[in-house]
Amino acid sequence: MLSVSNLEKLIAPGAVDMPGTLSARLTPLLAPVADAAVPEGTREQTDCLLASAACSSVERTEVDFGNPNAAYYQVELTLADGSKVFARLIEPRGICRPWEKTPLVLMFHDAARPVRGWHHMTRFAALGCAVLALDEGVPSIENVEAAFNSLVVPALALAHAASSLDGIDRTRVYTWGEGLGGALALAVAAIMPSQIARCAVCNPMPLDLTRGSSSINLIAWAPRISCATLIGTGLRDEIAPTEACAQLAHRLGGNAELIAYPEHAHERINEFENKVLSFLASE
């Protein structure tokens, strides 16, 4: 359920009935959605996806960057059907590892770009967190629905692999993603709700897939997500509309915070990154 948002703060009462205003656009998003039912057959579909994502092996190869406070690995997962899934893993060491068991962030990047760089992801070590990031090439933004459908199983495989990694605090496995990666982060939280403790997403898309028998409609599946969820949305984002984010937030099974950024489009949002930091780092 949507428990915290800044939507109300952005609405000027005197502009609510004025067509074309931000206030008129945002006002309908305040209303909670009464229907919290999950479509029939969801359980069977998630069982099927989970079976496909089971890993038969997890191999890691260290990449030496000379950083005494983090270890870097290329990871190769082999699924039950023999297919491969690739990922990057960074584990905190030295002064960045205050606990023996570390939290783990499962990270998913957006369409039209590759996995984030090693330097970028070293930020998680500063939080004492490990990060496991999906590294499956550059998904198409022209056909993001197909990209999403093809990446759900690899994303779930990452969550599976987490259970075989040493030194991970399994009560603190989080998902985080931007754009397409946001949808994957939500999908993992919906399909493996007991294993994900928090989920943070920025401009997630697509959220309302209805085409194709294997498509996952995350708005319909939202009640399955029981963890705390943080959602950032740019009001000028034309490919990940705020309306879908709000609809999803109202239907979530756990508490959700939705922060809307009036001047931002489909892009990284500096202020939201600070929110993500607080969300992941707080006890």
């Binding site: 970028h120 070590a125 780092a281």
Partner: protein, 320 residues
């Protein structure tokens, strides 16, 4: 994309205008002025929950003309002295998010990220610039004495920040580094030049603020360099005052600081960059006389270059 002949020409190009003869003396005097400002700063815990392996602080200090300046200050949670990165942001804007700055903490390093005055962060700009101020900090103060240009004052503010770093506890002062892209790259190089006793290494990506005459000549006095374009249109429409303007801008031209840089420099250029024209970047690099390495990225413009960022990890970590 440039052909091989053009790239070869870039490899020996050092800029259109020569460095002013009194450049070093000018900056010796400016550094002395900055050093005469009493060091005054305070460190406050930031209004952010600290991550489990790091602490976040706001660093406030008094700059030139009494300006109240701000920087993000992050530290790994340890009592041992740690290396420090001085980070400078692009134009116009502010230091990136706390989360983004955390990458250096994940390398076991503290980080100070200055917010340039009057741009997108909380640092105050006391102003008082003679001449146009409507568009572009490059030309702020251009109708007054060189000493009062915005960027001259900013380099002095950074000198004051370096003096604070020399006092901060818990810093390994043998391992103080600079990192910056675009405006941050220009400020970073000048920081190396004006604080050679402090800065041990620098990672510089497509440095801004250089070879202004070439920027104008290429017709690329737009976006970050738009101040030159506006100045030219309004005050030197037929080119009457351009030489005088470029003569003043030369005092904070990144290429002119290059000969004063003594630390090793990791340097990156996206070959499709039109915001900071590629030949102006070569002018900076070619004037560096220190240990240096230049990485060229075909297909990249003025944007995040992950491969360059990844090079920063061993470049800084191999030293400590």
């Amino acid at each position: 994309m440039f052909d091989d002949t053009t790239l070869e020409r870039f490899r020996s190009y050092r800029g259109i205008d020569a460095c002013p003869e009194d450049f070093d003396a000018f900056w010796d005097a400016r550094v002395r002025e900055a050093d005469a400002v009493p060091v005054s700063y305070r460190v406050e815990r930031a209004a952010m929950p600290s991550g489990s392996a790091c602490d976040l602080f706001d660093l406030w200090f008094t700059g030139m003309r009494g300006a109240e300046l701000h920087a993000k200050y992050l530290r790994p949670r340890t009592d041992d002295p740690v290396p420090l990165v001085l980070q400078f942001h692009g134009y116009p804007g502010a230091s990136r998010s706390w989360f983004e700055q955390c990458s250096f903490v994940g390398m076991g390093m503290a980080l100070i990220a200055l917010d340039c005055p009057g741009q997108g962060g909380p640092s105050q700009d006391p102003g008082g610039f003679v001449g146009t101020t409507v568009a572009g900090h490059i030309v702020a103060g251009l109708d007054g004495p060189v000493e009062n240009l915005y960027y001259v004052r900013l380099h002095q503010d950074i000198r004051i920040l370096c003096n604070i770093v020399s006092e901060l506890s818990g810093i390994d002062r043998e391992c103080v580094y600079v990192n910056g892209a675009s405006q941050g790259g220009g400020l970073g190089l000048a920081t190396c030049a004006l604080n050679p006793e402090l800065i041990a290494r620098a990672a510089i990506l497509y440095p801004f603020l250089s070879d202004f005459h070439m920027v104008w000549d290429l017709g690329l006095d737009v976006v970050a360099y738009e101040g030159i374009g506006y100045y030219s249109r309004w005050f030197s429409a037929a080119g009457e005052h351009l030489d005088d303007a470029f003569a003043k801008l030369a005092y904070f031209d990144s290429k002119n600081f290059a000969h004063l840089v003594h630390c090793p420099v990791l340097f990156g250029t996206g070959l499709e960059d039109t915001v900071v024209p590629v030949p102006t970047q070569f002018a900076v690099y070619n004037n560096l006389t220190c240990e240096k390495e230049h990485h060229l990225y075909p297909g990249f413009g003025h944007e995040e270059i992950q491969e360059f960022d990844d090079r920063i990890i061993p470049f800084l970590c191999e030293r400590g």
